[in-house]
């Protein structure tokens, strides 16, 4: 990169607005969306079925003070977290086992490719016969996230630099040393990506479990508000569920950055070319 093009990049960054102006525009966008939602609902819908934001927001604030909301959130998060952990451990173990033994990868890859697109919720009717709903929800979360973790690990292993491996060999690193110093650092960024992806998947399936099977948590709370005709509360819960999603996403991004601050930066630099 020449100095001039760097200066250009800099100038473009400025033209695109600093972080502050970006934030202001984002807030303006949010306000615009809120106002148009309010106007549309008031003009075209009955407040009973599609309540305006001015009704949803106070209800959401109220919910935030209620224990049942926090209990439900806690349950959903617990289910999501347990499933996520199982997926992480299983995905890393299976991924490393399959990915680092060449013949194993060859033998299993068609099966993995076959099973991956099978939506995990097809398990619901089968599992409902033998497990309780909370266990099934954990399993749903785990299965869905497992595929993401597994494939990220496999992609990462495929990305391991042969030159780095050869270098490690020439300095007489053993198998374990190579995994610690070469393989693991290569796979780690892929795991970071996986983490970012599976957090929202885990939340989605934990909530889905509540919607479909009535597993205790946010999903169940939303569904029961719908069934009992407490529509404003339902809208408020949906709004808050998105908020939970945002919080989880931020946490995952933070974790990813903490985990790989060194690597993310260098990768970006390379990726730009």
């Amino acid at each position: 990169m020449t100095t001039s093009s760097r200066a250009q990049a800099h100038a473009r960054g400025l033209a695109g607005g600093g972080i502050a102006s970006r934030r202001i525009l984002g807030i303006i966008g949010l306000l615009l969306a809120a106002v148009s939602y309010e106007a549309v609902t008031r003009a075209f819908f009955s407040p009973l079925h599609v309540p305006p934001l001015s009704a949803i927001l106070p209800r959401a604030a109220e919910l935030l003070t209620e224990a049942r909301f926090w209990t439900a959130t806690g349950r959903t998060l617990l289910v999501a977290a347990v499933g996520l952990l199982i997926a992480l451990v299983a995905g890393v173990v299976v991924g490393f086992a399959v990915g680092s033994v060449r013949w194993l990868l060859r033998v299993t890859s068609s099966t993995l490719d076959f099973l991956r697109p099978v939506p995990s919720i097809v398990l619901i009717p089968v599992l409902v016969l033998v497990l309780d709903v909370a266990q099934i929800t954990v399993l749903l979360v785990a299965v869905s996230c497992f595929w993401i973790v597994l494939f990220q690990v496999l992609y990462g292993l495929r990305d391991v630099d042969q030159v780095a491996v050869d270098t490690a060999r020439t300095i007489r690193l053993g198998r374990l040393g190579r995994i610690v110093h070469v393989t693991w650092p290569t796979v780690l960024p892929y795991l970071g990506t996986a983490l970012r992806l599976i957090v929202s998947v885990a939340l989605a399936l934990a909530v889905t479990g509540g919607l479909v099977m009535g597993a205790a948590g946010l999903g169940e709370l939303i569904w029961s508000s719908q069934e009992s005709g407490e529509f404003t509360g339902m809208y408020a819960l949906v709004l808050l569920t998105g908020g939970v999603g945002i919080a989880l996403d931020m946490a995952a991004r933070l974790a990813e950055r903490r985990l790989l601050h060194w690597h993310v930066a260098t990768r970006r630099e390379v990726a730009v070319r």
Binding site: T2, S4, Q8, H10, L14
Partner: protein, 265 residues
């Protein structure tokens, strides 16, 4: 001289402003290029050559000064302008065949089908790629890809051809071939060429005139008419005494400018 000037650059400057400081990339460039001339611009890496070229092409607004092409002030990419970038791989559209790549500007300009085919075929033949029209750019070597970019430019029949370090990413052998190809095309199509490079030998070998830009911020610090015979060839020209003298003169000027620390390309 200015009577038949095709390109006139007057007191051109470009600065980038950020909150902390203002960076001058180009300062006070005055340059005139006559119709049919081949001008090579040399300067150290990172001296704002690319910025200058982008302003001439109308891709970037100037901060001060003006660019006139055939008497018209340049505010947007002018018609009759061909550009060949250094990054051949990125300037060709990978999902289009070689022929489609060359054809695209003509199609957009509204050239009729029959004439378009003729122009494309001729341009591809001229760069020696008549056989690979249906291949995709990524199936070709780097040198061949750059020839596609050149074919795209000449099929467009530009009055002014701008080239931004077009041969700096290919190997030495290919580079010599491409230089000779370009010299032949220039004579054949009577184009005006503004050729930017950081390679002094290349500038002296190709140019009728060599313009030396100073280190950042770029400004014209010297100009040399190149009084070598019009017909040049890699071995003979490069080993003749006059070539060596000119090369040394240009080199001295380039060296005179304080070098910034090199930024890795």
């Amino acid at each position: 001289m200015s009577a038949d000037a095709l390109l006139r650059i007057v007191d051109l400057g470009k600065s980038y402003r950020s909150r902390e400081r203002t960076v001058d990339a180009v300062v006070g460039v005055d340059l005139t290029v006559d119709d049919g001339e081949f001008v090579a611009v040399v300067g150290p890496s990172g001296c704002g050559k690319t910025t200058l070229l982008k302003i001439i092409a109308g891709l970037l607004p100037a901060s001060t000064g003006d660019v006139f092409l055939a008497g018209q002030r340049v505010t947007e990419p002018p018609a009759d302008l061909g550009v060949v970038f250094q990054e051949y791989g990125r300037s060709l559209f990978a999902w289009k065949t070689v022929r489609q790549n060359v054809e695209l500007p003509l199609r957009s300009r509204g050239v009729g089908r029959a004439e378009r085919h003729e122009l494309v075929a001729e341009a591809l033949d001229a760069v020696g790629l008549g056989q690979v029209g249906n291949a995709y750019p990524w199936q070709l070597s780097g040198g061949m890809q750059q020839r596609v970019a050149i074919a795209r430019a000449i099929a467009y029949r530009p009055r002014l051809l701008l080239m931004d370090e077009p041969f700096s990413a290919v190997d030495a052998q290919t580079r010599g071939d491409l230089e000779d190809l370009l010299a032949r095309l220039w004579r054949r199509y009577a184009m005006t060429v503004l050729f930017v490079t950081h390679d002094i030998d290349e500038a002296v070998y190709l140019g009728q005139r060599v313009v030396v830009l100073g280190a950042s911020p770029a400004g014209v610090i010297a100009q040399f008419p190149i009084d070598l015979p019009a017909e040049r060839d890699q071995l003979g020209t490069r080993s003749c005494t006059r070539f060596g003298e000119l090369r040394a003169q240009v080199y001295a000027q380039v060296r005179r400018t304080p070098q910034l620390e090199e930024v890795a390309p």
